[in-house]
Subunit: 142 residues, 3 copies
């Protein structure tokens, strides 16, 4: 029978950088007792992203930070909106260039991620934050 | 009982810039009588985007325009495809760097947006256009 | 009655560039016998993207390649992660700037794409690859 589950993950970030949440999301799928279905994540913020990326080599995440620091530098004089500091508007732009929601199919009770894919919250602010990710699951127990 | 609703919003843009659609989408959710579910938006165009961003300070949207005008400038000699004018290909690139579809969970009959999140159609062409957003809702009335 | 279908498309790419998959995905929708519903695609890789873009003028895709080659150049000395060659890290960045999953509503048995929208796998590596796209469909036969 078709069913749904809805929950919220609270993710503590340590400032700018990646926080893997693959296991947390898989746990939600397992608890929902869905074998075949769809899992949608929505991050309720405008200065952090959800990203699916390589989970093997940590250099990949380091290079992501370096690339985005060059593309959208903190303190860029282009920006007017600096209310919360020089990393405020760059964090909004980084978020728009990536995404705040994702949908991953579920098969045999597992997220259908590729071998090298991990799910990450990418914090774009320099200071640590607590980020909320809404997890919606719909599907069947077979 | 699980149900679905499908409708299309017609959004009149005033040329390049942001048009908020949060209320229009919430109205679709309310009319669908879904308490728990998933709302997916799909924009049927290749030169405008859907974006979830800060709804508080209008400077944020202004800075977005400034950043993208620098990153993907109109009339860039790099581009061959200029059939519809010098803002044509830049509009396609801006669309690809952001997105044309989004999925937001629904809880207690409300879109699960964060406090500062608004849903926008981001027009990338200079001229006003009418844009179609397909709204799909699936869920239950409890 | 609400139903689901789950399948995997194997797409052979010819190296960097676009491979249209609109018909392959529509075939999945038709086989699922869903008239109203939602179709979600998830690409199981970190160096190729899914993109919805203009299907009319091939110059558009050519210009996309030119823009991204300038924005994220192969062999950029910024990158540390070069294990698989100088197009390795740029392929990850291009993937993050676009997306690996998409959801398109279905109405009257057809994907609700706009007139000019096509679904593409965008290969970011120079060498040909076989890419897996998981296709999840949920909906009703009316």
């Amino acid at each position: 029978m078709m069913r749904q589950a809805l929950s919220t993950l609270r993710i503590s970030t340590r400032g700018r950088g990646f926080q893997e949440i693959t296991r947390d999301v898989q746990r939600c799928v397992t608890q929902a007792d869905v074998q075949t279905g769809l899992c949608t994540l929505h991050l309720q913020h405008t200065s952090a992203s959800l990203l699916i990326q390589e989970n093997a080599d940590p250099d990949v995440r380091r290079d992501f930070e370096r690339f985005f620091a060059r593309l959208v530098p903190d303190g860029d004089p282009l920006f007017i909106h600096t209310a919360e500091g020089e990393d405020d508007m760059p964090a909004h732009v980084r978020t728009a260039l990536t995404t705040v929601n994702l949908s991953v199919p579920v098969a045999e009770g597992r997220l259908c991620l590729g071998t090298w894919q991990g799910l990450y919250v990418w914090e774009h602010r320099r200071a640590p934050h607590t980020r909320s990710v809404v997890v919606h699951i719909i599907g069947e127990d077979r």
